[in-house]
Symmetry: C2
Subunit: 256 residues, 2 copies
């Protein structure tokens, strides 16, 4: 297939990177199965933001501070989930403030949102007010579900751990983020009985011939035995299509 000429922007697509930081002993113990990593990675990929690393750390200030500082200096954005509730084990906001070396105090914008939600200032117990503590200089990330906000401090976005609250916060947080060139994805499925072993050698040659796309082989094992899906990912549609065509031609020779 002939590759059409591409415009300069396609030739040099913008890459925006992110890391995800999941905070919570309950995830590390296996008691709670994380549902946020898969959601956030898929959401950001669709927005042209490439997730390059995920870390899960316990509810320990030193560990959260260390991870925030390691990730925020390395990627364009860090998105955290968990640890911003009202209880003693919710220490993410304090840890992020410490990572940046800034103060943290009760934020009046958060207090107003929570006052409306809880039906009056009288219902803002000290525990609930704890959720209004925001690091100095942070923008709020609205929480339409339960009012207590997340926040964005520099390039670090702090969200709740409860999935349906995190998802609404992410809808708001994405508006504050730069979008990159979306990574396009296409795939070829050789079908049952054709495992990775059968395609590995020609696939490696095709991968070498198409350096500007990433080609992955994702095996699965089911009733029909082994099969694999060959996935082509890249930011240039023409280059993804060219690699796909070569893979389809290769698979056809195997099937014969």
């Amino acid at each position: 297939m002939e590759t059409p000429s591409v415009n300069p922007e396609q030739a040099a697509p913008v890459s925006v990177t992110a890391a995800i930081l999941v905070v919570g002993d309950e995830i590390l113990s296996g008691r709670t199965k994380d549902k946020n990593i898969g959601y956030i990675t898929e959401f950001l990929t669709g927005a042209g933001i490439d997730v390059k690393e995920v870390r899960v750390v316990p509810d320990e200030e030193e560990r959260i501070v260390e991870a925030v500082n390691a990730l925020r200096t390395r990627y364009d954005y860090v998105l955290s989930t968990g640890g911003i509730g009202p209880t003693h084990d919710d220490i993410t906001a304090d840890s992020v403030a410490k990572a940046f070396g800034v103060g943290i105090e009760i934020d009046q914008r958060a207090v107003e949102a929570m006052t409306r939600h809880y039906g009056g200032a009288a219902n803002l117990t000290p525990a609930r007010l704890r959720m209004a503590r925001i690091p100095d200089g942070a923008e709020l990330v609205d929480n339409p579900v339960s009012a207590a906000p997340g926040f964005m401090l520099d390039n670090v976005i702090v969200m709740a751990g409860v999935p349906n609250i995190m998802q609404r916060m992410l809808d708001n947080a994405i508006l504050k983020m730069r979008a990159g060139a979306v990574t396009l994805s296409d795939s070829v499925s050789p079908g049952p009985g054709i495992g990775e072993g059968a395609v590995a050698e020609p696939l490696a040659a095709i991968a070498q011939a198409h350096p500007e796309v990433s080609i992955g082989s994702y095996p699965s094992f089911g009733p029909a035995g082994f099969q694999t899906q060959l996935v082509i990912r890249g930011k240039d549609a023409a280059k993804v299509a060219a690699a796909k065509a070569d893979i389809e031609a290769m698979v056809a020779t195997i099937k014969r």
Copy 2:
């Protein structure tokens, strides 16, 4: 409740720690939803091994080497999943060898197992033989599903990414690991309508009064509104029970 005297082992329980390293672009893109982290954390917790960190990194040698070296020096064990298949993007074994500064070559024990599985040496294509490459000095971790083995090099255990293969490898790997004192877990559920805000203050006091257990509050949001589960974790049954009793008494006062 009176705390019974505990024997020295309970008083000073053995702690064994682990980290999980998930390797794979497909997890970071959201295309594949990880099913291994939740399984491994629950499995190791049941074996008395405390998972203290999880990282997900891309199929990039430098990133895998960096993560392996960061984690293996910090925790008793590192368990990795993914990147040990036959295709060009399977680079975990080479990366682990590089992290340890050892060589990697075709392992005859692996060749024999794979020869049986594939019905003769003639079927061991170069791609399949790639799966027999094991870092020098590693023990094999048997793979009863598809023969190509995982391995254990020092304190790093390398397993497949396909969940049902990983799970069988983990059954074999655990036999090579030291077990620690199992962390016991119990919980109190205040029930619908009692959210974290209502229990946060007395719960913090109870947590302070029981420093040898960890007390977490895990909120959820459903049709019945907010509720939370209060979880007590510790290695001493009597201390977990004592904290649970105090939490139940506290919750009873809220319900009244």
